[in-house]
Structure formats: C-alpha cells, structure tokens
C-alpha cells in the first residue's frame, strides 16, 4: 500500500511488521519519533512486544543484547551521542554473534553540540563487526529493515545489522512509501528460531574469556562471515524482489554508470542530490555517473572495482571525517581501487555536509569542477571562509 508518510513513522511501521519481541531505546534527536511511534503502537495493542524504557543508551543496547540472547528478535534505535555511549555494547553484540537490528538516525557528534545530520556517529563503531547499511530514501530505509532482520538471522550470518538513515532528511522528511503488507513481511521474514540462546534445558556459556590461544580465530571468523555476507546480501535482495515485486538494496547501486567517466561515490540521502546533479551534467553532455554504496560493512570491494574500473575520475563524497586523516569512504575506496595498479582512476576525496551544512546541486557541481584540477584527498566543500579567520591563511 502506498502512503505519504514521515520517515520515522515508516520505520516504526516496518519494525512493527518485523514483529520484534523486545524493543529498548533511550530518546535522542532525531531518533525519537521512531521509538515514540513504536511505544504508542504497543500501548494501542497494535502488536505484542516488551518495550523497556531504560536509563541510558548503554543500557538500551545491553537490554537488546540480553533479550536477543534469549532467542527473541529485538530492536533498538539511536543517534549520535547515543551511539557513542553504546559503543562498548555495540562491539559486544557483534562479538557475541547476536542478530540485533538497530536503526541509526545519523547525526553529527559533539563538540560543538549539533543535532543535524552527517554520518560521523556510525564511523565510531565502523570496526565493530556490525553489518552497516545506508539508505538513500525513506522507501529504501523501509526495505532495508526487512532485509536487515532476514540477513542478521540467517544461520550463515548471525551478526547484528545497522540501518543508517540520515537524521532529519530521512527521519523527518515525508515521502510516498510502498509499505509492505504484514502477510508479505511474515512470509519473507519467518519467526526467529535459534538454538544459540540462553536456555535452561540446554545451558550454554556465552561471552567467554578467550586468551591469546583462542581470541584471534574467533575474531577471524567474524571477518570470514563478512566475506560470506557479500554473497548473501545480493541473495536477500533478490529474494526481496521476488517477494515484494520491486527492486531494493543490495551491495551497491549504480546510476548512469555504463559509459561514465566521472563517477561520484557516496552513501545515504546525498545520493538523491547526486542523481539530480548527474542528470544536469548529462544534459550538458558530460559523462557523469554515480555509485551508491549501500553496504559499507562488509565493504563490497569487488563490486566497487567492477563498477569503477573504467572511470577516469572518481569523486568520493564523505559526510564524515577521520580527523587527522581522510573521509572514511575515501580511504576504503582508495585501498580497494589500489589493486587496479596503473589502471586505478584518479581519486579525489571531498568532505561535505558536516553538522547539517546544506548539500545542494551547487555543492555537487563544485565537486565535479574540482575533479579535473589537482587531485585532492580531503577537500572540505562549502566552508564559510569568513569564519575561518587565521586558520586558512
């Protein structure tokens, strides 16, 4: 059914349809609408679930960890400082191989305090072992949640999945959404069953102390699973297509790539703006294209190389920055494409939209213009020079 709805409400609606048994969350802008909606749905008996109102995000993540360990499908959502406070538990959920699904309404991190969108928060847990998916639109956010549970609970995976949606832009934006029906979701996502749980009839110890004789193999197995997930994500996406009669998600998505010579690479809602920019450039006869990275972890190196190997220039557009280094996506792409050797396209890195700074068509054309000039690895675009005083000369 198609509805014109707010992104947060769409997420709440689809999470409800995924039938989690335990939900725990702590309020933080711009995640709040999602969990408020879920609380109300439970209060109205739209579905049965335990909603645990915790005293912090650290505990929200701990509650879903405990609940998931009893074999019950669980859900949480957060943003920014909340994700940073959770970080310790986020790593543990992955290490314990618990298939929790979490929505991150991406937001800048302090200081200065800023509630607006960028993608800095998720980068703090980039290396945690979670599958990290990025949505471009509200529709894609909805679809990714259904796929996230299916993927996380796949016996070959058993890892948590985070669906990243840009704060405000997607959480508070409105869009016409094709909302899957309950029966369709139930068919695609059967009830979660696992023997890997805290069960008094089959007592297991979860969360051992592993000394140097054992630790490395256990971590390696997570890495191996991520490799495997690169095959499973396309599988899940094609199953999704069969079940819902439309295409959504996967590892990456290309736009006008066939003959593209200049390719933008980005994640999340900025891809919408880039599509428009590509259209404009194409109208002017420029061979521009876009590569959207949906699965950031696991990082789909082979798929990306295949998509970019004929490009002349690649512009990586990051909405976060590893301060003192480069944009995280730029770093990953550079290392992936370096295996092309002399055929490696010219790579430029751009940092845009931090703390909610507008990203317009102008911003993207500026990226395009810069591509033909000197290679740049971490150029901040849209800076207000008048605020920088002495910093930049």
């Amino acid at each position: 059914m198609k509805n014109f709805i707010e992104g947060s409400h769409a997420v709440a609606e689809i999470v409800k349809k995924c039938r989690p048994g335990v939900i725990s969350a702590y309020p933080i802008t711009p995640q709040t609408h999602i969990v408020e909606d879920l609380a109300k749905m439970i209060a109205d008996k739209e579905f049965e679930a335990q909603f645990v109102n915790v005293e912090s995000e650290h505990s929200a993540a701990s509650v879903v960890l405990g609940a998931e360990a009893t074999g019950v499908r669980s859900y949480t959502a957060t943003s920014s400082q909340g994700l940073l406070l959770m970080a310790e538990v986020v790593f543990n959920i992955a290490g314990l191989r618990l298939p929790v699904v979490m929505t991150t309404a991406n937001r800048a991190v302090s200081a200065p305090i800023n509630i607006w969108n960028d993608q800095q928060d998720v980068m703090a847990v980039r290396d945690s072992g979670w599958v990290l998916l990025f949505a471009e639109s509200i529709q894609e956010t909805v679809d990714l949640h259904v796929q996230a549970y299916r993927l996380a609970e796949d016996p070959r995976v058993m890892l948590p999945v985070m669906v990243n949606m840009d704060g405000f832009i997607l959480t508070h934006g409105m869009e016409v959404v094709d909302m899957p029906a309950q029966e369709e979701v139930d068919k695609f996502l059967p009830a979660y069953k696992t023997a890997y749980k805290l069960d008094v009839d089959d007592p297991k110890t979860m969360g051992f102390l592993a000394d140097p004789d054992y630790y490395m193999e256990i971590r390696y197995m997570v890495q191996e699973t991520h490799r495997e997930i690169l095959k499973i994500i396309p599988e899940v996406a094609s199953e999704f297509k069969k079940a819902f009669k439309r295409e959504s998600a996967g590892l990456i998505e290309g736009y006008c790539l066939e003959d593209a010579e200049q390719i933008f690479v980005a994640m999340g809602s900025v891809c919408g703006t880039i599509r428009d920019a590509v259209d404009e450039l194409r109208k002017k006869g420029k061979k521009a294209g876009m590569l959207k990275v949906i699965s950031y972890r696991p990082f789909p190196k082979e798929a990306i190389i295949a998509a970019l190997s004929k490009a002349k220039e690649v512009a990586v557009v990051d909405k976060s920055i590893s301060l003192g280094g480069f944009g995280p996506l730029y770093t990953d792409l550079s290392s992936a494409l370096s295996s092309l050797g002399p055929r490696m396209p010219k790579m430029s890195g751009f940092v845009v939209g931090l703390g909610g700074r507008d990203i317009t068509l102008m911003t993207i054309s500026e990226v395009y213009e810069k591509l033909s000039s000197k290679q740049t690895d971490c150029a901040f675009l849209g800076l207000r020079q008048e605020l920088l005083g002495g910093v930049n000369g």
């Binding site: 335990v22 335990q50 645990v52 609940a67 543990n92 805290l198 110890t205 969360g207 051992f208």
Partner: protein
C-alpha cells in the same frame, strides 16, 4: 562428589571467598536459572575458553551492564511467556556494582524487573590488581589508596549500597557473608521467592587482596561480622531486620590478620577510627544480641 552447578576446575585463587559465594548462590537457585555476569574475577576464573564452570545458561557482556543485560533477558522471557518458571540472577563484584554499574542497577530496580542482583563484595577491584572501589572500607591499603607517610589508606567510608538499593523501594535487600553459608542459602531462597528486583550483597574475603592466609577465609569473614564491621541484615519491604551478634569482638582481631590493615596495627588512633565505624554500625543496625 556433590552435585553442583558451579564445577570446580576453575582458576580461582586458593581460599577465594567469591568462588565459595558464587557456588552457594547458584546451587541454591538451582538449574532453572539464567545468570548475567559482569566482568571481574568471577567471570575471568570461571569461563576461560573453551571451558566453563557454569552448569546453567550464563552470559557475560561487560563490566557495568549485567543489570541491563538481565533486564533484557527478563523482557525476552516475558515475551516468550517463560518468566515465571525461570530465575534470573545478575551478579558482579563490588566495583561493578557500587561504582561503574550503579546506573544500570538503579534502572533495573526502578523498572521493577524480576531479577536477583548479587554483589560479591571483596572490597576492591581485585581482577585488575586490588585497586580501591566505592566499597573499600575506611583506611584500607590498596594499590590506589596506598598507606604511606602522608596517608593511612582509603580515606572514605563504604558506600551504603544496601540503603541505596532499598531507597528504590524494591521488595528485598539483604547483606550476607560467606562466613555463614546457611544464611546465604536462606537469603537466596527467600529472594527468589519474591517477585520484583532483589539485592543481595555478600561479603567475600579475598586472600590475595586482603593479604590473609588462604585457610582463614571463613574466620576472616566471620570476624568482619562479629566485630560489627560488616553488618548483616535484611530490608524486607522497607523493614530492617538485623542478624544479631552474640559476642561482639574488638576490631583489632579482624584487622590484625590482614595485610591490608597492617599499617594500622601500631596506630591506636587509626584503630579507634575503625572501632568507631563498627560501633556506629552496631548502633545503626541494632546488631547487639540481648543479654
């Protein structure tokens, strides 16, 4: 060998009070129990991969969050309709309880989860090498509250954790000591018979950290109680019921068998300070048995 849910073969030190306490707790709770365990000595010595001492489902997540993990387990079991037949125990050391874990415990109490929280109080961060915690007693020598020419050791009193728990209005709070195993068993049984959040704090000597003979664990535990330094009591629905002491002993008897108090022995003023703490406990908790 006696049937136990806490198998020997773990790597606890000789005379470890916490190992005795943990075994008493789980064997009293029985096999229909799930445990969430904080980081600390207990977790480290009982679950060295691939071996585990635990005969019940057991999970360790982090240092400060067993109360929240247990809350999640409880919510999961509730969703499955299985809560009524299964006990949930969250357990931790004194540091994991009174310091870094306090917020999560408060949340668990306030939300009313049906969980028994057990704090094994060995009065310092033992797993990391005997650093001071909020439950380290006044004038204790630890590695981060060392005695020296300018210090008599830990300057602050024990955080009143049982009262903090009781202030949440939870139905059952108690202290106990491994020196009195039957009392521990009785309290675990009683706690598990009550719905809602429960708090049990068990005094567990640590021969390594307290620097006493490993063979003296029970004696040291008993002396703490008999001197009034470790008051044993219950708060049932807010009502305080003490365990009376038949013959109160001077604190010196307790202090002199432990290296962590050695610096006090030739310091009558310091001993007086410790005696004053015991006296205050005796009065506050009405510990003295009627003649």
């Amino acid at each position: 060998m006696v049937e136990t849910l806490f198998k020997p073969g773990h790597t606890a030190c000789a005379g470890c009070g916490q190992a005795i306490g943990a075994r008493l707790v789980i064997d009293t709770a029985g096999k229909n129990t799930i445990i969430a365990n904080n980081t600390g000595c207990l977790e480290v010595f009982s679950t060295k991969y691939p071996e585990s001492s635990w005969g019940v489902p057991w999970i360790h997540s982090l240092f400060e969050n067993c109360a929240a993990v247990a809350s999640g387990i409880e919510a999961g079991l509730r969703f499955l309709g299985k809560k009524d037949s299964i006990n949930i125990i969250a357990q931790a050391g004194d540091g994991g309880t009174a310091d870094i874990g306090l917020q999560a415990i408060s949340g668990m109490f306030e939300r009313g989860h049906d969980v028994l929280y057990v704090c094994y109080d060995n009065e310092a961060y033992m797993n990391t090498g005997i650093q001071r915690s909020g439950l380290t007693p006044t004038l204790t020598d630890t590695t981060t509250s060392p005695s020296g020419t300018g210090s008599e050791g830990n300057p602050r009193p024990k955080k009143p954790m049982p009262e903090i728990a009781a202030a949440h209005g939870i139905p059952y709070v108690a202290t106990a000591s491994v020196g009195y195993p039957q009392d521990v068993q009785k309290k675990v049984k009683k706690a598990l018979s009550i719905k809602g959040p429960k708090y049990l704090q068990i005094h567990v000597p640590c021969p390594l950290g307290w620097r006493h003979e490993p063979g003296l664990t029970f004696d040291v535990a008993k002396l703490a109680v008999e001197t009034g330094l470790y008051p044993i009591f219950e708060y049932e629905n807010g009502q305080m019921i003490p365990r009376k002491i038949a013959k109160i002993k001077p604190v010196e008897e307790y202090l002199k068998v432990q290296g962590r108090f050695r610096h006090l022995i030739k310091n009558p003023e310091a001993i007086k300070k410790v005696q004053a703490i015991a006296d205050a406990n005796i009065q506050k908790y009405n510990l003295k048995a009627e003649a």
